[in-house]
């Protein structure tokens, strides 16, 4: 099986995955014990109102017909309208208005650990069993064990009285004056000052969100680096007299990257799930906040639409991961059967 056949196979297999996830969402939401009509009308609705609404929403049709309609709607991206949070506004419009903050935070949460976790891990792997290695490893392990939302609470405390904790450093007035918690202003991001302000507001959240993956990347980076360093081809290269710098970058680095790929892509699920908690700690109203509120207030079409988009996002990232594998690791497709 060639590499590209392998990739094509993975691509085809993602279709049933999407269908399964979307169907499961439908059955949890619409076939479960929750009653959408009362969540819109409240408890004091008359039976006539209820019937009208059921007619309007198509809830009086048999379940399988609703299901069929729903699947067609989802795959044609007509995601329905919000019921409660912003009544009668298209779901995708609502999601789009909340998305930028989470996207900004998520992007930072992916990028920061890449530039901190991996170098630290490689540093530790290059000098195994030194004090620096132990410090880095131990910090990573403890960091990983801390609940993200608790870390966020602690961070909020440290930053809101930063002069006391950080030796007179004032976070709130640093570079631009912002609040520690709250929703970032997302208008006019092209202006550098606005952009910096927005980044600064989401930065603590991104740091916390990325912290778990930072610990993972560090640990895995360390072992991957160690393993590659002690492998036969590196010894061979050394015996040939290849200079140290070239060994590190050409032979060790590239091979050590392979086990890191799934860690980086697996972050997506962590980011999306974690954003609910982090956004509620820092008071950022982004996607996670929206999902939690849509569920809590019974805005079912909005929640379903978000779940569908998230499934698409994660499946897309899995495909990206396979694509990266196919490029970076020539052995893909030859392993196993």
């Amino acid at each position: 099986m060639s590499r590209w056949t392998y990739f094509a196979k993975r691509l085809v297999l993602s279709i049933p995955v999407i269908i399964f996830g979307t169907s499961l969402t439908f059955f949890i939401i619409y076939a479960g014990p929750i009653d959408p009509v009362t969540s819109i009308l409240g408890m004091g609705a008359t039976s006539e109102q209820i019937q009208n609404l059921e007619q309007q929403l198509g809830l009086n049709q048999p379940l399988w017909e609703q299901y069929f309609q729903y699947m067609v709607d989802m795959f044609t991206f007509s995601l329905g309208e919000s019921w409660v949070i912003r009544p009668d506004v298209a779901a995708n419009e609502v999601i789009l208005s909340y998305a930028p903050r989470t996207v900004l935070m998520g992007a930072l949460a992916v990028i920061l650990p890449l530039f901190v976790g991996i170098p630290l891990g490689f540093y530790a792997g290059l000098r195994p069993n030194t004090l620096g290695d132990y410090t880095a490893s131990f910090t990573g392990i403890v960091w990983r064990a801390m609940p993200n939302f608790w870390l966020a609470v602690i961070m909020l405390m440290v930053l809101s009285s930063s002069e006391y904790w950080l030796f007179g450093f004032n976070w709130e007035t640093w570079i631009v004056s912002t609040n520690v918690a709250g929703t970032p202003e997302m208008d006019n991001l092209l202006q550098p000052l606005n952009f910096i302000a927005a980044v600064k507001v989401v930065l603590p959240g991104a740091l916390v969100l990325g912290s778990a993956s930072m610990g993972n990347e560090m640990r895995i980076g360390r072992t991957a680096f160690l393993e590659a360093k002690n492998s036969n081809y590196v010894e061979m290269a050394r015996a040939k007299g290849v200079p140290g710098r070239s060994i590190v970058w050409k032979h060790i680095f590239r091979n050590a990257l392979i086990p890191l790929i799934p860690v980086i892509t697996a972050e997506a699920g962590v980011l999306v799930g974690g954003s609910v908690l982090i956004e509620s700690v820092f008071g950022i109203n982004g996607i996670g906040w929206l999902f939690f509120n849509a569920m809590a207030r019974g805005d079912l079409p909005l929640a379903v639409a978000m779940m569908y988009l998230i499934i698409l996002l994660i499946v897309g990232l899995n495909i990206l991961q396979d694509f990266l594998y196919t490029i970076v690791d020539p052995r893909v497709g030859f392993e196993g059967e």
Partner: protein, 496 residues
């Protein structure tokens, strides 16, 4: 060692041949367990037996159903009677609740000691008892190994020896054991009772607090609920922090909550819930992952492909979001009432937890199936089920344990995260996440302990389980690297 005569003897027959060591060990163990007989029964009785009994009675015709509930209630009465048997570690032997009368010292506490010391003595006694029992259980294994096992050496011996010299793993084991003891003995280690602190603080029978009223100059009684109102930690204005007494002479080792309840009691009982969720979810997820790994490694091909697809589909829905969705949807359902919603959480964590585990053990189980002994067993005509049970599963379980230990922390963090959002385990049943949420606004004040201590406890617990997992891995497979990415992903907390 002398067990060479007949290797097919069962363990019972081997014990009969040489009963001495087993009898000596058994006698001490029975004595140790007898000390806590009542508590063990109390534990058995605290399982919500009425749920299955009621369910059964509802399904059956009325007459038989009535009989079933009747029998059930008889068993419940007997069990409750056993549970009433006093135990060594009960709070009534070493009471830490008392009141201070000026000039006369402490009244009602153990030996008239200050409540703090009485509580410390009880806490120490609990841990000593647990340590002795654990050591004796270990002695039991050694007795078995020396006198009753026909093999002089098994691979497991090497693993255990490797684990014993693994400091990081032992550190994890000690932390985990300490928390397990705290959860198991929560009623004994906590400075106040569950009924006073959580379930019915205004009960005039069990929740009365005696104290010395200075104004009146006499000893008076008040319900724990009203006493709690006067011992709230509310930041800089009024705070009952670490190692303090409140106005009713009640001792709070970790301070009080914003509701005036004792934080240590809250955390001990909250730790119970967390560990229950973690262990139950791990058992469920591990069971699913193990059966699927055995199935896929034995049959390969289409079964494997189907499982890959299912696992991809499940992991395409982020666990935390699905849990938020399902817990909200099922809020009114009866399943949310079992164990205050902890059962539902544990169940859902289990259902959404097997994918990473399965991916992590899939590789090793594929390798194990390739071994000659499996081919030989196939050649013998063994049934697939008995082949995988005897020749594959014992090796796979070792790998599974590593990742289970690491993912357990993720479940505990996830459950705490959900209760931080107000979902999952419902009040008044304690959950660590709720304490963090409650004390969040006070964290910059003197009442910082409310949010910080539960978080530290979760961190330690998760750290302990991770270290235990590391230790098990190095014990099982010293050559393996810790850089297994799928395993690490399995161990991640799902972002909570």
């Amino acid at each position: 060692m002398s067990m060479t005569e007949n290797k097919n003897d069962s363990i019972v027959e081997r014990v009969k041949e040489n009963p001495g060591p087993a009898a000596r060990w058994g006698a001490v163990m029975a004595f140790l367990l007898l000390l806590e007989f009542g508590a063990i029964w109390g534990g058995i009785m605290s399982i919500p037996w009425d749920v299955p009994v009621k369910g059964l009675a509802d399904v059956l015709p009325a007459a038989i159903g009535g009989v079933v509930t009747g029998i059930g209630s008889v068993f419940a009465d007997v069990g409750n009677a056993f549970a009433e048997v006093p135990t060594l570690l009960e709070r009534q032997w070493i009471p830490n609740r008392g009141y201070h009368v000026p000039g006369e010292g402490w009244q009602g506490t153990f030996l008239g000691l200050e409540p703090a010391y009485a509580w410390l003595i009880r806490l120490t006694l609990v841990y000593v008892y647990a340590a002795v029992t654990a050591y004796w259980a270990w002695r039991g294994y050694m007795t078995f190994r020396r006198h009753y096992r026909y093999a002089d050496w098994t691979p497991a011996d090497d693993m255990i020896d490797r684990f014993r010299s693994h400091n990081w793993g032992r550190f994890g084991l000690i932390i985990v054991a300490a928390f397990l003891v705290m959860a198991l003995f929560a009623p004994a280690v906590s400075p106040t009772t569950e009924s006073q602190n959580m379930t019915n603080p205004y009960d005039t029978e069990n929740s009365m607090v005696k104290y010395y009223n200075e104004n009146a100059g006499e000893v008076q009684e008040v319900t724990a609920g009203s006493a709690n109102l006067a011992s709230k930690s509310r930041g800089d204005r009024q705070n009952f922090g670490l190692w303090t007494y409140d106005k009713y002479d009640r001792f709070h080792p970790f301070g009080t909550l914003t509701t005036g309840k004792d934080l240590f009691t809250f955390m001990a009982f909250g730790g119970r819930i967390s560990l229950f969720i973690g262990l139950f979810a791990s058992a469920l997820a591990g069971g699913i992952a193990l059966s699927l790994a055995l199935l896929t490694s034995y049959y390969k091909g289409l079964v494997d492909l189907a499982t890959v697809l299912t696992s991809d589909a499940f992991s395409a829905m982020p666990r935390l979001l699905v849990l938020i969705m399902l817990v909200t949807v099922l809020q009114e359902h009866w399943i949310s009432d079992i164990y205050s919603g902890a059962f539902l959480l544990a169940f859902l964590f289990g259902i959404w937890g097997w994918m990473g585990l399965w991916r992590a053990i899939r590789g090793p189980s594929f390798q194990i199936v390739e071994n000659e002994w499996v081919t030989a067993a196939k050649g013998f005509g063994d049934r697939p089920w008995s082949i995988v049970k005897k020749h594959v599963a014992p090796y796979v379980i070792g790998y599974l344990l590593i990742y289970l230990s690491m993912s357990l922390g993720g479940y505990i963090i996830g459950a705490a995260g959900l209760s931080y959002l107000g979902l999952g385990v419902t009040a008044p049943t304690p959950e660590l996440g709720r304490a963090i949420a409650g004390g969040q606004d006070l964290i910059t004040t003197k009442s910082w302990h409310i949010s910080v201590l539960p978080g530290v406890m979760i961190t330690l617990l998760v750290l302990g389980f991770n270290a235990l997992g590391d230790g098990i891995r190095d014990a099982i497979d010293p050559q393996s690297s810790s850089g297994d990415s799928s395993g690490e992903a399995a161990a991640a907390g799902g972002g909570a």
